[in-house]
Protein backbone atom coordinates (compact mmCIF):
# COMPACT_ATOMS: atom_id res chain seq x y z
CA UNK A 1 0.00 0.00 0.00
CA UNK A 2 2.85 2.38 0.79
CA UNK A 3 4.22 1.70 -2.64
CA UNK A 4 0.77 2.49 -4.08
CA UNK A 5 0.67 5.88 -2.39
CA UNK A 6 4.19 6.77 -3.48
CA UNK A 7 3.33 5.61 -6.97
CA UNK A 8 0.21 7.73 -6.99
CA UNK A 9 2.32 10.77 -6.26
CA UNK A 10 4.75 9.75 -8.98
CA UNK A 11 1.87 9.60 -11.43
CA UNK A 12 0.63 12.92 -10.25
CA UNK A 13 3.97 14.58 -10.77
CA UNK A 14 4.01 13.19 -14.30
CA UNK A 15 0.45 14.20 -14.97
CA UNK A 16 0.36 17.64 -13.37
CA UNK A 17 2.69 18.98 -16.03
CA UNK A 18 0.28 17.91 -18.78
CA UNK A 19 -2.86 19.99 -18.77
CA UNK A 20 -4.34 19.78 -22.27
CA UNK A 21 -6.96 22.01 -23.85
CA UNK A 22 -9.02 21.24 -26.96
CA UNK A 23 -8.51 24.71 -28.39
CA UNK A 24 -6.37 27.65 -27.36
CA UNK A 25 -3.86 27.93 -24.57
CA UNK A 26 -4.59 26.91 -20.98
CA UNK A 27 -5.26 30.17 -19.14
CA UNK A 28 -3.62 30.93 -15.78
CA UNK A 29 -7.07 30.89 -14.18
CA UNK A 30 -7.75 27.40 -15.57
CA UNK A 31 -4.33 26.25 -14.41
CA UNK A 32 -4.98 27.44 -10.85
CA UNK A 33 -8.36 25.74 -10.66
CA UNK A 34 -7.30 22.48 -12.29
CA UNK A 35 -4.23 22.17 -10.07
CA UNK A 36 -6.39 22.97 -7.06
CA UNK A 37 -8.71 20.10 -7.99
CA UNK A 38 -5.68 17.86 -8.52
CA UNK A 39 -4.40 18.73 -5.05
CA UNK A 40 -7.75 17.73 -3.53
CA UNK A 41 -7.84 14.44 -5.41
CA UNK A 42 -4.27 13.56 -4.45
CA UNK A 43 -4.99 14.44 -0.84
CA UNK A 44 -8.05 12.19 -0.95
CA UNK A 45 -6.09 9.28 -2.44
CA UNK A 46 -3.30 9.60 0.14
CA UNK A 47 -5.79 9.88 3.03
CA UNK A 48 -7.59 6.73 1.93
CA UNK A 49 -4.21 5.02 1.51
CA UNK A 50 -3.15 5.94 5.05
CA UNK A 51 -6.48 4.67 6.44
CA UNK A 52 -6.06 1.43 4.53
CA UNK A 53 -2.51 0.97 5.83
CA UNK A 54 -3.68 1.63 9.39
CA UNK A 55 -6.57 -0.81 9.05
CA UNK A 56 -4.19 -3.57 7.96
CA UNK A 57 -2.27 -3.06 11.20
CA UNK A 58 0.90 -1.83 9.53
CA UNK A 59 0.47 1.51 11.29
CA UNK A 60 -0.94 2.34 14.71
CA UNK A 61 -3.79 4.79 15.26
CA UNK A 62 -1.31 7.10 17.01
CA UNK A 63 0.93 7.04 13.96
CA UNK A 64 -1.87 7.61 11.47
CA UNK A 65 -3.72 10.34 13.40
CA UNK A 66 -1.31 13.26 12.83
CA UNK A 67 -1.10 12.50 9.12
CA UNK A 68 -4.86 12.28 8.76
CA UNK A 69 -5.38 15.41 10.86
CA UNK A 70 -3.13 17.23 8.42
CA UNK A 71 -5.00 15.81 5.45
CA UNK A 72 -8.31 16.89 6.93
CA UNK A 73 -6.83 20.38 7.35
CA UNK A 74 -5.78 20.34 3.69
CA UNK A 75 -9.30 19.32 2.63
CA UNK A 76 -10.94 22.04 4.75
CA UNK A 77 -8.49 24.76 3.66
CA UNK A 78 -8.90 23.65 0.08
CA UNK A 79 -12.68 23.82 0.34
CA UNK A 80 -12.41 27.32 1.80
CA UNK A 81 -10.25 28.42 -1.13
CA UNK A 82 -12.64 26.81 -3.62
CA UNK A 83 -15.55 28.75 -2.16
CA UNK A 84 -13.60 31.94 -2.91
CA UNK A 85 -12.54 30.81 -6.38
CA UNK A 86 -16.13 29.85 -7.20
CA UNK A 87 -17.11 33.49 -6.87
CA UNK A 88 -14.97 34.36 -9.89
CA UNK A 89 -11.50 35.64 -10.66
CA UNK A 90 -12.24 39.27 -9.69
CA UNK A 91 -13.57 38.27 -6.28
CA UNK A 92 -10.67 35.87 -5.82
CA UNK A 93 -8.18 38.62 -6.56
CA UNK A 94 -9.74 40.79 -3.86
CA UNK A 95 -9.28 37.98 -1.36
CA UNK A 96 -5.71 37.23 -2.38
CA UNK A 97 -4.35 37.50 1.15
CA UNK A 98 -6.80 34.90 2.45
CA UNK A 99 -6.06 32.49 -0.40
CA UNK A 100 -2.33 32.89 0.06
CA UNK A 101 -2.67 32.37 3.81
CA UNK A 102 -4.60 29.12 3.33
CA UNK A 103 -2.11 27.77 0.78
CA UNK A 104 0.77 28.76 3.04
CA UNK A 105 -0.94 26.99 5.94
CA UNK A 106 -1.08 23.80 3.85
CA UNK A 107 2.62 24.17 3.06
CA UNK A 108 3.74 25.16 6.55
CA UNK A 109 1.70 22.58 8.46
CA UNK A 110 2.88 19.84 6.12
CA UNK A 111 6.49 20.90 6.47
CA UNK A 112 6.12 21.00 10.26
CA UNK A 113 4.59 17.52 10.26
CA UNK A 114 7.49 16.15 8.25
CA UNK A 115 10.05 17.99 10.37
CA UNK A 116 8.50 16.73 13.61
CA UNK A 117 9.15 13.15 12.62
CA UNK A 118 5.63 12.61 13.92
CA UNK A 119 4.72 10.43 10.99
CA UNK A 120 5.52 7.60 13.37
CA UNK A 121 6.30 4.91 10.86
CA UNK A 122 8.25 2.03 12.31
CA UNK A 123 10.05 1.16 9.11
CA UNK A 124 12.48 3.98 8.26
CA UNK A 125 12.10 3.16 4.60
CA UNK A 126 8.33 3.51 4.83
CA UNK A 127 8.62 6.71 6.78
CA UNK A 128 10.54 8.17 3.92
CA UNK A 129 7.75 7.09 1.58
CA UNK A 130 5.04 8.88 3.59
CA UNK A 131 7.26 11.91 3.87
CA UNK A 132 7.49 11.95 0.11
CA UNK A 133 3.70 11.72 -0.16
CA UNK A 134 3.24 14.74 2.06
CA UNK A 135 6.04 16.55 0.28
CA UNK A 136 4.14 16.02 -2.98
CA UNK A 137 1.09 17.80 -1.53
CA UNK A 138 3.28 20.61 -0.18
CA UNK A 139 5.01 21.02 -3.53
CA UNK A 140 1.70 21.17 -5.39
CA UNK A 141 0.45 23.85 -2.98
CA UNK A 142 3.58 25.80 -3.89
CA UNK A 143 2.86 25.37 -7.61
CA UNK A 144 -0.72 26.61 -7.12
CA UNK A 145 0.54 29.59 -5.13
CA UNK A 146 2.87 30.51 -8.01
CA UNK A 147 0.10 29.95 -10.58
CA UNK A 148 -2.26 32.06 -8.53
CA UNK A 149 0.24 34.93 -8.42
CA UNK A 150 0.50 34.69 -12.19
CA UNK A 151 -3.28 34.55 -12.64
CA UNK A 152 -3.91 37.67 -10.60
CA UNK A 153 -1.19 39.51 -12.47
CA UNK A 154 1.45 39.87 -9.77
Amino acid sequence: MRVRIAGAILLTVITVACIHKQSGPVTPWERVNVNMAGLAQINDAVAKGVIAVQQTGSMTVQQAAPILNYQELVAKDHAAIESILASGSAQAASQAIQIQALLNEIKDQGSALIASGGLGIKNPKSQQTFTQDLQGIINLAGVILADYELAKGN
Binding site: V3, R4, I5, A6, G7, A8, L10, L11, T12, I14, T15, V16, A17, C18, I19, H20, K21, Q22, S23, G24, V26, T27, W29, E30, N33, V34, M36, A37, G38, L39, A40, Q41, I42, N43, D44, A45, A47, K48, G49, I51, A52, Q54, V61, A64, A65, L68, Q71, E72, V74, A75, K76, H78, A79, E82, L85, A86
Partner: protein
Protein backbone atom coordinates in the same frame (compact mmCIF):
# COMPACT_ATOMS: atom_id res chain seq x y z
CA UNK B 1 4.07 20.39 -21.60
CA UNK B 2 6.51 20.93 -24.40
CA UNK B 3 6.61 18.73 -27.49
CA UNK B 4 8.26 15.38 -26.97
CA UNK B 5 10.42 13.54 -29.46
CA UNK B 6 10.10 9.78 -29.95
CA UNK B 7 12.61 9.05 -27.22
CA UNK B 8 10.82 11.40 -24.83
CA UNK B 9 7.49 9.72 -25.53
CA UNK B 10 9.04 6.29 -24.96
CA UNK B 11 10.46 7.46 -21.64
CA UNK B 12 7.12 8.94 -20.61
CA UNK B 13 5.22 5.77 -21.53
CA UNK B 14 7.78 3.75 -19.60
CA UNK B 15 7.31 5.95 -16.56
CA UNK B 16 3.55 5.68 -16.80
CA UNK B 17 3.61 1.89 -17.12
CA UNK B 18 6.02 1.63 -14.20
CA UNK B 19 3.79 3.87 -12.14
CA UNK B 20 0.60 2.04 -13.04
CA UNK B 21 2.12 -1.36 -12.27
CA UNK B 22 3.34 -0.09 -8.91
CA UNK B 23 0.30 1.75 -7.69
CA UNK B 24 -2.49 -0.74 -8.23
CA UNK B 25 -6.22 0.13 -8.27
CA UNK B 26 -6.02 3.23 -6.04
CA UNK B 27 -3.31 4.77 -8.17
CA UNK B 28 -5.05 3.90 -11.41
CA UNK B 29 -8.28 5.44 -10.16
CA UNK B 30 -6.41 8.61 -9.24
CA UNK B 31 -4.57 8.60 -12.54
CA UNK B 32 -7.84 8.35 -14.50
CA UNK B 33 -9.45 11.09 -12.43
CA UNK B 34 -6.50 13.39 -13.03
CA UNK B 35 -6.36 12.53 -16.71
CA UNK B 36 -10.04 13.45 -17.07
CA UNK B 37 -9.49 16.60 -15.06
CA UNK B 38 -6.49 17.73 -17.09
CA UNK B 39 -8.16 17.39 -20.49
CA UNK B 40 -9.91 20.71 -20.85
CA UNK B 41 -12.68 21.69 -23.24
CA UNK B 42 -12.68 24.97 -25.14
CA UNK B 43 -14.79 26.95 -22.63
CA UNK B 44 -12.80 28.44 -19.75
CA UNK B 45 -15.82 29.02 -17.55
CA UNK B 46 -16.97 25.41 -17.94
CA UNK B 47 -13.46 24.13 -17.27
CA UNK B 48 -13.16 26.17 -14.09
CA UNK B 49 -16.62 25.11 -12.88
CA UNK B 50 -15.82 21.43 -13.50
CA UNK B 51 -12.49 21.74 -11.68
CA UNK B 52 -14.08 23.43 -8.68
CA UNK B 53 -16.77 20.73 -8.49
CA UNK B 54 -14.16 17.96 -8.74
CA UNK B 55 -12.09 19.56 -6.00
CA UNK B 56 -15.00 20.05 -3.65
CA UNK B 57 -16.22 16.49 -4.25
CA UNK B 58 -12.76 15.20 -3.35
CA UNK B 59 -12.68 17.36 -0.21
CA UNK B 60 -16.04 15.98 0.90
CA UNK B 61 -14.88 12.42 0.35
CA UNK B 62 -11.64 13.04 2.24
CA UNK B 63 -13.33 14.63 5.24
CA UNK B 64 -16.02 11.92 5.34
CA UNK B 65 -13.44 9.12 5.17
CA UNK B 66 -11.28 10.64 7.91
CA UNK B 67 -14.25 11.38 10.17
CA UNK B 68 -15.52 7.80 9.69
CA UNK B 69 -12.05 6.48 10.52
CA UNK B 70 -11.88 8.64 13.66
CA UNK B 71 -15.22 7.27 14.82
CA UNK B 72 -14.09 3.73 14.09
CA UNK B 73 -10.92 4.08 16.17
CA UNK B 74 -12.56 6.15 18.92
CA UNK B 75 -10.91 9.50 18.22
CA UNK B 76 -14.11 11.49 17.92
Amino acid sequence: MGKLDAQGIAVLIGQLLTGISAVGPIGIELFLKLEALFHLGPDEQANVAAAIKAGLDADSETIAAIEAWKKEVGLS
